[in-house]
Amino acid sequence: MIMELKAVKYNSREEALGAFKKMVQRKREWLAETDRELKQMRESSKAVYANG
């Protein structure tokens, strides 16, 4: 079965810019969230070694 293409249509540069800015913002949020996760993982890892 061939998938139906559900394209997002942009009628102007402003519309496309708005969508791109949202994509950039979501990336920043993901990076902030994963920075916290990585810090927690690093601290857990240190605790394991310390209690070794």
């Binding site: 997002v8 791109f20 994509m23 990585l38």
Partner: protein, 165 residues
Amino acid sequence: MVKMKLDELNSCSSYKLTKKGENSYSFENDEHNLFLIAFSPNDTILEENTYEFGINNDGNKPSRNDEKLRKTIFVAIEAFFESKDNVLIYQCETGDCKQALRARLFQRWFNMYEHRNEYISKSGMIIAEGVEHYAGIILRKDNPKAKEVLQLFENFISFFNDKPE
């Protein structure tokens, strides 16, 4: 929806992947740097089957010559493309102004990927609010809508290449 089986991933991966969330995995490299990778749904150019690839490591420590790191990332990307309908897009982080370096590194990694000829990869630069952003798309050559999807990506990028009215 991406369905990636952890056991199958780890049977091919150079570093052991641990599932962190839906379509999100962590691993630690030989230099003891921790990494998180994710495939997050993205609806910028298509309403479905499109995911944004993200990679983060603690402290942004460089591991440029880590061959196992490159291989681990491409094992995950290859598993993502188990469905030929899937489309992967990416953007390079701009927060530290190293986006051009990241774009070149990822392109170099892709060029070294042994199955690269089974895929189409396009990238482009978007200048938004005075900042240069690098974005790209990867899809399987046998994606039934490959031509149309690529055209959508190129149309999107072209909005930013034309001079403002």
